[in-house]
Symmetry: D3
Subunit: 245 residues, 6 copies
Amino acid sequence: MKPSPNCLPELPALLAFGAHPDDIEFGCGGVIARATRSGCSAHFVVCSRGEAGSHGSPAQRTAEAEKSAALLGATVEFIELDGDAHLEARAAHAIKLAGILRRVRPDIALAPSLAGNQHPDHRRLGQLARDASRLARYAGVPELRASPPHAISQLLFYAVTPEAEPADLARVLIDVSPPEIVAAWTAAMEAHGSQTAARSYVELQLTRARLNGLRAGLGHAMALFPSDPCVHDSLAQLGRGARHF
Amino acid sequence: MKPSPNCLPELPALLAFGAHPDDIEFGCGGVIARATRSGCSAHFVVCSRGEAGSHGSPAQRTAEAEKSAALLGATVEFIELDGDAHLEARAAHAIKLAGILRRVRPDIALAPSLAGNQHPDHRRLGQLARDASRLARYAGVPELRASPPHAISQLLFYAVTPEAEPADLARVLIDVSPPEIVAAWTAAMEAHGSQTAARSYVELQLTRARLNGLRAGLGHAMALFPSDPCVHDSLAQLGRGARHF
Amino acid sequence: MKPSPNCLPELPALLAFGAHPDDIEFGCGGVIARATRSGCSAHFVVCSRGEAGSHGSPAQRTAEAEKSAALLGATVEFIELDGDAHLEARAAHAIKLAGILRRVRPDIALAPSLAGNQHPDHRRLGQLARDASRLARYAGVPELRASPPHAISQLLFYAVTPEAEPADLARVLIDVSPPEIVAAWTAAMEAHGSQTAARSYVELQLTRARLNGLRAGLGHAMALFPSDPCVHDSLAQLGRGARHF
Amino acid sequence: MKPSPNCLPELPALLAFGAHPDDIEFGCGGVIARATRSGCSAHFVVCSRGEAGSHGSPAQRTAEAEKSAALLGATVEFIELDGDAHLEARAAHAIKLAGILRRVRPDIALAPSLAGNQHPDHRRLGQLARDASRLARYAGVPELRASPPHAISQLLFYAVTPEAEPADLARVLIDVSPPEIVAAWTAAMEAHGSQTAARSYVELQLTRARLNGLRAGLGHAMALFPSDPCVHDSLAQLGRGARHF
Amino acid sequence: MKPSPNCLPELPALLAFGAHPDDIEFGCGGVIARATRSGCSAHFVVCSRGEAGSHGSPAQRTAEAEKSAALLGATVEFIELDGDAHLEARAAHAIKLAGILRRVRPDIALAPSLAGNQHPDHRRLGQLARDASRLARYAGVPELRASPPHAISQLLFYAVTPEAEPADLARVLIDVSPPEIVAAWTAAMEAHGSQTAARSYVELQLTRARLNGLRAGLGHAMALFPSDPCVHDSLAQLGRGARHF
Amino acid sequence: MKPSPNCLPELPALLAFGAHPDDIEFGCGGVIARATRSGCSAHFVVCSRGEAGSHGSPAQRTAEAEKSAALLGATVEFIELDGDAHLEARAAHAIKLAGILRRVRPDIALAPSLAGNQHPDHRRLGQLARDASRLARYAGVPELRASPPHAISQLLFYAVTPEAEPADLARVLIDVSPPEIVAAWTAAMEAHGSQTAARSYVELQLTRARLNGLRAGLGHAMALFPSDPCVHDSLAQLGRGARHF
């Protein structure tokens, strides 16, 4: 079942995995906003209620995530793995995520990067999502036989913090400059009020996006890290390069 | 002056630099063929007559390059730098190439990669082309004042041999599978008869492209290495990922 | 117990680990064929029956692996870990593999690479095999006390797909050009008929080997990735370099 | 002309390039000693008289180099490039070195590594030697037409200091443990008395070799860095791995 | 509770994690000795009794570790995770280590590096320690609520063997040249008599430290690998660079 | 001769090399401001008048640089190498810079990074400065005999743009948060009015510094890249780690 019925058929459907209720918004919220404004569907899969964080109750954080997803034009579901700060890279988890990929059948999956020096839940979810992307297209996994195999067209990693930007993958930049996109993204981040009261998370993300924008001659841009080389039909589809300064 | 008047205005114009008369064909000929077949203009700048090679006279190699460029739908010019096997990374050379960029005013420039373990002329030309891409947009360089600054939108490196594929840049893959593209590219490589008689250059390149194609679920694909991150307006423009096996 | 009694004493005995019934053949089958033809013994340890794959029943895949091993002159055994698509990096698994190393006592162990972007069973088996190679020589591990410690002389990684070639390890190339070697390897790959019907696996591997061969001035060559630096008594043993083009 | 007529025909002939009179001895002297003791010929090409160093006159340093080469069983010649501390990466220099490779016709060439953070003459000579190895086999370079093309079988980099060990190339270790080899190497280093009086160069090199030896379960070992992958006929030729601790 | 009451308040308190009873001493013992001699407190947390090693009973190894810690001026405690050669990267372990960080409240934590090619317990403990350093400052982890959050100021990795030196992190060098420091460190290593009888571990570590010392113009120096960039108030605090030869 | 007589003797003297009149200010101006405010002396060596840039006459840019240096508490001199956009990596240039190092005799030298993808003058000046740092301490270079050898204690690279941050060197962060430091740095950048009118250079640098600051829990911080490992007497001197989020 596609999560969003009003998605234009020729536009890619997105599925974003997040370890905690605010990871997707902080790591790639502007990209989501731009995609949904142009007609793509987007669905979030959040793997904890943030119950180990310093601030906010699980109920509060669930409500914040639901409000934030709505601001970004996305649907959201919560799943149980091992719990916040307890996630492990179990094969059963990858199979569970693969089952979700088969159900939602997105074109593009987004997941936290695998960089080592970040919250352990982030990098483990990234590994699980990468494994799940493979398992989703194998026909013989017993737990997955209820739904037909599905192959996504792209797995893109996002980085919740600067330290999470992977050194071994090249970045692409997505322009999120339109004022309504910056506004929607900012509102979605601020919807996580339990988190943004204590730390400068929103400023951190806007500063990162502004720096990417300044490099590329844009207002704001967000970096994503494709897991595999991008394939294009011709040079005309390649986009422009980021060099501006 | 644009080299090709029949280029569709919305399609990118290409300029490819080659150190020797056959480098462009072996390193990115299939990409050129695909681009020109879809309406892009392409111009080749060749920086020697191959006069230090083991086979072929300068006159013979010039004729081969001209025939090959025509098969790829490109124009070609020869310039004098230091000569085959004698190229050095002089600032004056970078300025000379910048002047060509200002004259031709391409959207995309292609140049040999900067990987160290290849023919020294290749990596030096790659460095010169990268420097030239910057200098072309500075207004104050005295030697360049005759023509207005020009900023290309992309600098893409190609690898003449597998060893020349740069370890520090990510690849994009361009689909060159259509039979007429493979045929045009193969004919362009074989037009360098003085070179292909002695070594398996054509088979090497087709094997590389077939391997990329097998990885990506295509017939043949060629790898290019963008100098800077690609910027996209949205995820919908990103192309698909190469993972197939 | 050595798996093969007719191994010449001065030639190295090989043990190859595979996650699925066809991994060894696709990843290093030509190397195995060349080694056994020159008198080395070879033993395969396969850690699943491929029961999660898209094609072929466990019984069918077991029979294919047995036929394929015989074509390569190797013996084969199957072990139970967590099952296909379910392998985890448990310490108990590494100890189990260490026990097999102590029983078979090979000189050289081969295992799938640790590159991240491949089937998760592959990289996890590579990690387990590397850990097992260490544990096999520690005297105090309780589960291993039944057999004396054993130190292999080399751990070599193979890459089942191009994406699995590790970026952080240098390659060595093994010449598999003799026609009878290519034929034996091809026959061993084709023995996995349940897999080769649906995808171009055999062509992929032969294309990879042909590309390595073209680089090195040979017919076909396969890349292996030593886990540790190679030690030589003198420069005379170093072999030649691969540069050909 | 081969520099040493009493070289056994089946053993590789070595040519080592050094920027200063003591670089070869400090960077790979033990390897040279081991090779010449086993019957290989060795020839040194030294590209300055060390005239910019803090200690020792050119005449003194020339005499030291000649004595040291003799202790290692090698012949030595001095060539003029730009002078000590003045070396530049000129194409003409690479062609000059290529001419020497054609005259001496070694199997193996040794040169200082290309690591950036070392004496600039070292890395530039390494680049020149790598380029020269290619140019030596091209038939058309005018300056080289007097002698037939020559292809070496291996280019190996040595590191004069720990900082010069290249991060992007894998090492091989050569066992230099036999006491007569350590003694010959030590004597050759100490023959450069003008240098060893002021600094702990000899201890530095012996400490490096002892550390490599401890890693590999040997007395002393020296690291070399092949420019290209090593090609072997079979796994039996691969040597053992270095893991010992 | 701080482990050592006589620590000067302005000096950093250290906590070192070790997988086996001798890892801390071999990997960073000289640094510990220098710190405690200058007034820092140091506490060791050892995660096994070395019961899987080739030599020494658990009781013997415990006694050796206690003697060694005393020689270094440190306190020591043993904790139970999965046992020697059985350690796994479980979230519960990271939380357990985080609880110790909250109890001891050190300024600096030291842990084995995450390099892949070493004893698996080492790299897994390094991962656990890095994760624990994050979890120690999150207020919501249920198992940790008994003690207030604690943020260390630095996580430093040490390398028990040369292979364990991480390729992706830069090193800092700590001068351990004073004779009394070398003596205390050597005595602490030799206190592990069950290990040093069979292998040249002490010589290995002293050789490593001497090589670092020779590079930096010191007697002996040990390398540590900060997990995160170091922050300084001004250039005056940066220390000098290591270049000496 | 030290450039600034009122430098406190125990504080390091700084010498910064810049290719163009504004490079030092944009790349490390905040660090300079902080150092001079605490009593260090600072001297700038600028290697062109910016005569190839798009904006500003040489006279104008010279005046801007002099005003800017004064705002940072530094002295400035201009030298002639090959001119803006014409710089080459000549040995004679490195020797010229070495002569300046011998005259000024700084403790710390700052130079643009060697990253490839930036203005060619920047990376070439970085190479020249690194080479000069070595040559300055060799006693035999004829051109340098007039002044005694000098060894700096640190060579630090700065990055004028984000693309110039070197991937192969680790960063240290210098806190430039005090309001008077940010103000002095901003004023120094804005003193280059010919450049800041056309592009967002000042915002780019402040955004970079704010992002570093947010990562480290500070207001603003600038990254520098030591050429060699830092050596410390003890862990107490190491500074804190940057991890904050």
